[in-house]
Amino acid sequence: MALLVLDGVGCARGGLPVLTGVSLTLKAGGALILRGPNGSGKTTLLRTVAGLQPPIEGRIEAEPDSIAYAAHADGIKSTLTVAENLAFWSGLFGTADIGPALAAFDLATLRDRMAGRLSAGQKRRLGLARLVVTGRPVWALDEPTVSLDAASVALFAAAVRAHLATGGAALIATHIDLGLDAETLDLSAFRATHAARTAFDEAFT
């Protein structure tokens, strides 16, 4: 069963088309790695999939409320503790227990620490632990491994594997090798035609 289908999707950043004709299918248990140089539209595509911006063309098919999005920013409140941060999101998404999420990202010993006192990598782990408590089947992840050390990357890869094993799916934009058994999609093949860009650029040259 396909959890997420993109059919000829195009999306724009700041009013300029960056991607066109992206088609992909994510099945339960499947992961897809998005690659492409900086500015190729990985973040824009993920934001479109998450529903934060509408596609300029094409269709996105997914169950309503099935996508958990993780952006560059983790959405962590520095004056709440690790457990309070997670408990807020789990309450909002209607899942009960934050224990497994804390365990998956090795945060149990930090649970009563103020989030503002965490290191960058620990904050990132907390941000990723939020994905586990959303209980949603499709993860759309934007550079999830930024500021993670090798051990934490392994923790993250294990969490993704566990998520896939329970019938989830993941769409991950990353530059590093996560050691996942996943297909790769290079977004530079879907770059929007330069017509729109150059017309804009010429106006400023």
Partner: protein, 218 residues
């Protein structure tokens, strides 16, 4: 939704949350006015309703830009927009949290501050009542203004300019009702209109605020 409310209240009360800022500002205004215009009861009493309402309104304005700005900066607003809770509810809850941390304390403190300004006796009840009815509108209109300007650098200035004209009707009817009570006149009409403005704001602005947020998050 209760979760979002309790989180916002928790954040407001903890260090750096800005709880008490509005109250301190209100106190400063009401303490400084007698120094500025002179302490004679005959001078202070007629202007007290207006000063108290203006003080409460400006105090409310002070913390408005924090409603969405902090959540926007740390990325929680995007995550809230993808959470299983309608954005309209997010706007309404945020306005409610703002009211509980600023409007409600201002309402409770205003009668006390009225003493500093020699507010005439019959007006105390009217002052508390009008603030209780009027401040929810200030928070709701403010949340709409904050939603419009979220993501702008130094958006606070633009937001104040956008929000101030929308605050004028609430100020007029709130201050009028309090002044009429001080003069011993009937206050039904301005209080009813004040309540009408508040109910209208509560009914419409969550939708307008959510639409503004959606556009600003793109």
């Amino acid at each position: 939704m209760i979760r979002l409310l309790t989180r916002d209240l928790k954040l407001a009360v903890r260090a750096g949350g800005g709880f008490g800022l509005a109250l301190a500002f209100f106190l400063i205004v009401t303490v400084l006015v007698p120094f500025g215009v002179g302490p004679e009861a005959g001078v202070l009493a007629p202007i007290a309703p207006g000063i108290l309402w203006i003080g409460a309104l400006l105090a409310c304005l002070l913390s408005l830009d924090r409603i969405f700005a902090t959540d926007y900066e740390d990325g929680s607003l995007e995550l809230l927009a993808t959470a299983p809770i309608p954005l309209e509810a997010v706007v309404a809850i945020k306005a409610l949290a703002h009211w509980i941390t600023t409007g409600l304390p201002l309402t409770l403190a205003a009668p006390l501050f009225g003493i500093f300004l020699n507010l005439p006796g019959p007006a105390f009840g009217a002052l508390a009542l009008t603030l209780l009815i009027g401040t929810p509108a200030l928070s709701m209109i403010g949340a709409f203004g904050a939603a419009l300007t979220v993501g702008l650098r130094r958006g606070g200035l633009l937001m104040s300019l956008l929000v101030l004209p929308l605050y004028v009707p609430t100020l007029i009817f709130g201050a009028t009702a309090t002044r009429r009570a001080a003069e011993g006149l009937a206050t039904d009409a301005p209080v009813t209109l004040l309540a009408g403005i508040t109910l209208g704001a509560l009914a419409l602005l969550p939708f307008a605020g959510a639409a503004a947020l959606r556009i600003n998050l793109r």
